[in-house]
């Protein structure tokens, strides 16, 4: 006989199922986009000839798809973690999913069918001046708009839910801990994932607004209402949107580390002054580093360049000393149950830090002058995206599907996880060395002297393919059972 569920349990089960669909869709998109990435590295190695038009279409789709897919998955994971107390609406999650899916579909059509190839950053005025049909530009940018609307829905749902649960935004941001005063009334304090979700939602609204300010004039130009607008202003809005969105994705994934690691170590992150301080600082700091994308736009006022360097230096400090050092503290001497999720988290701590150091180096204006738009840039963001944002999210996905004692602890799963770590490490290091060799990024054709490092990178990408193919089989086998069962209780951290 089926168990009788209360209304709250049914709601949570619906949220869990929506979250699982988010995670699995994101995982599938990640794998497909990864194959596109392999095709690009094969072309860089001189072993494949896609031709520049298809290379740049694929490059555009790879970037847009990776960001959309990994963000979707990590939002799903965090939704499952925070829903028991914040009370997200399953209907809203499903609505956002449909909007997200439609938007992503338009992006796929615009690139593969329409030929849109302005790069995932779509730097104005390239979207309106490129050698592809205007309809493709419409499709791509409208697709982006839908994805942004879906993300905005999620942000608003989290902010409203957090305010309802904790009584005020100040409580949701753990200000009673930060300012060492008692919480108002009987309201509870947020856990780490709840605090991070609130911070992400706050900055997410700002990022989406910047995206709107970027997109509306382009739509106006496409409609013939304006002849153009200032490229420097556009670039500021573009990167306030895009760079912030990508950075927020990493923090969403960090919330999943909080929810995963405790289960394997028997220890948990506590809501404490350092945690509250770090993530309240992140609210402001995460909005500043985008200026480093504009260092070489000499027309930008100098104080904004310096603000960018300050932000690039400062944003990593709270995350490093709170999340990364805190995670190492959870692992050390914990008699950890080694499993695929733990290996993914450990690899993520490596890549996130390495990528962060590389970002600090490149975030130094003087160095940026000889590094900007070389392969050093994709090296650093692949480090903390592939290892950090995606790696942490897949750690949670495997944990969600397997549980502490399930298939993720098997020898095969652990070997595949180490294969992923080695493959991803070799892949990003080849990018870094190419950047040091001054190889430009976003080139469809590489000179013979640039191809060597790409040729070294390809076998490492193939290791990634093997690792994820194996893990995909394990994931697929475990989905039916996970669909029927409630999500694993996250580790309590308050």
């Amino acid at each position: 006989m089926a168990p009788v569920r209360t209304n709250g349990e049914q709601l949570q089960r619906s949220v869990d199922q929506a979250a699982l669909v988010y995670l699995l869709t994101g995982f599938a998109v990640f794998l497909l986009m990864g194959l596109l990435g392999l095709a690009m590295r094969l072309q860089h190695a001189g072993w494949l000839d896609l031709g520049p038009r298809w290379f740049y279409r694929i490059m555009t789709l790879h970037g847009a798809g990776m960001v959309a897919g990994v963000l979707l998955a990590s939002l799903g994971g965090v939704s499952a973690v925070i829903a028991p107390r914040i009370g997200l609406s399953p209907r809203l999650l499903w609505s956002a999913y449909v909007v997200y899916f439609l938007g992503s579909g338009l992006v796929v059509l615009a690139t593969l069918v329409g030929g849109f190839a302005a790069g995932w950053t779509t730097t104005y005025p390239l979207p309106v001046r490129g050698d592809w049909p205007v309809s493709a530009t419409w499709g791509f940018l409208f697709g982006y708009t839908l994805v942004a609307v879906a993300f905005l829905l999620w942000c608003l749902a989290v902010l409203l839910g957090a305010r309802r649960r904790f009584g005020s935004l100040a409580n949701a941001l753990a200000w009673p801990v930060l300012f060492r005063r008692p919480a108002s009334g009987e309201r509870p304090l947020p856990t780490g994932p709840e605090l991070i979700a609130t911070v992400v939602a706050l900055d997410g609204v700002i990022a989406v607004l910047a995206g709107v300010v970027y997109l509306v004039p382009i739509f106006a130009q496409l409609l013939g209402l304006v002849s153009g607008f200032d490229v420097l202003f556009a670039k500021n809005m573009l990167f306030l949107f895009g760079h912030t969105l990508v950075n927020l994705n990493i923090y969403v994934a960090v919330a999943l580390v909080y929810a995963t690691l405790g289960a394997y170590t028997g220890r948990s992150f506590k809501m404490s002054f350092p945690v509250a301080l770090a993530f309240n600082l992140v609210i402001v700091l995460v909005l500043l580093p985008y200026f480093h994308h504009l260092y070489q736009d000499f027309a930008q006022p100098l104080p904004l360049h310096l603000l960018g360097q300050f932000g690039s230096y400062a944003v990593g400090v709270p995350a490093f000393f709170v999340t990364i050092i805190g995670s190492l503290g959870l692992l050390y001497g914990s008699q950890v149950r080694w499993s695929a999720p733990v290996i993914f988290v450990l690899a993520g701590l490596w890549g996130w830090t390495i990528g962060g150091v590389a970002a600090v180096i490149d975030g130094t204006i003087a160095v940026n002058n000889v590094m900007h738009n070389t392969l050093w840039v994709p090296a650093h963001f692949h480090s903390y995206y592939l290892f950090g944002a995606a790696g942490f999210t897949w750690a949670y996905l495997f944990h969600r599907l397997s549980g502490v004692e399930g298939w993720a602890r098997s020898v095969a799963a652990r070997r595949l996880a180490w294969l992923y770590a080695i493959g991803a490490g070799g892949f990003v290091l080849a990018f870094f060395f190419s950047g040091l060799q001054s190889v430009p990024r976003r080139y469809a054709v590489h000179l013979a002297e640039w191809q060597g490092l790409a040729q070294i990178a390809v076998p490492f990408v193939l290791l990634l393919v093997v690792a994820f193919a194996g893990l995909l089989l394990m994931v697929v086998r475990s989905v039916p059972a996970a669909w029927r069962l409630p999500a694993i209780e996250p580790a309590a951290d308050d």
């Binding site: 302005a118 050698d131 490229v231 420097l232 008699q335 002058n369 070389t374």
Partner: protein
């Protein structure tokens, strides 16, 4: 500049890999969290100000090497050679392609259609300086070429199908 960045990056990568290896090797052993937690607290209390000081010093020192026109003019002197540069899909137009060695050159860089990146590569293939070419703006890039040879300009801001073909050359003599 690139070699300094490489050394710093490799040093941090090796050290960080060693730290994670050390922690992972001890993750299977038993150490009460009551003993681990205060150590983490000490690392935070001592490490945070140490890193902030190091980054603060790096920030201040780096200001002496800003690539902007006024900073380079202060270091190298006022320009005596002026080159007009326009980027357009997918070519560079330069008002002159012969540049005297050892003199400060001012590139006045703009774009006719979309954003481009004016990247200057030395004869041995190293990126030596760059600036964005932006429609509606003229960016001043100052540089002094001490090594003779043929320098290559490559576009460093993605500008669609012909991006990788957008090159030009000038000779320093």
């Amino acid at each position: 500049m690139q070699s300094g960045a490489a050394m710093l990056f490799l040093l941090v990568t090796v050290l960080w890999t060693a730290v994670l290896w050390w922690v992972a090797a001890r993750a299977g052993a038993a150490a009460p969290y009551e003993r681990v937690s205060p150590v983490i607290g000490r690392i935070r209390r001592l490490g945070t100000p140490a890193v902030v000081v190091v980054l603060g010093i790096a920030f201040v020192v780096s200001l002496a090497f800003l690539p902007y026109a006024s900073s380079r003019a202060a270091r190298l002197g006022e320009p005596t050679v002026h080159v007009e540069v326009t980027g357009r899909m997918w070519a560079w137009e330069l008002s002159q392609t012969r540049i005297p060695r050892g003199q400060v050159v001012e590139f006045r860089v703009t774009a006719a259609d979309v954003n481009h990146g004016f990247g200057v590569f030395s004869p041995d293939g190293r990126l030596v300086t760059q600036v964005q070419a932006m429609p509606g703006y003229t960016n001043r890039l100052l540089y002094r070429f001490d090594e003779p040879g043929v320098y290559t300009i490559r576009c460093l801001e993605f500008c669609a199908t012909g991006h990788h073909l957008m090159q030009a050359q000038f000779t320093v003599e």
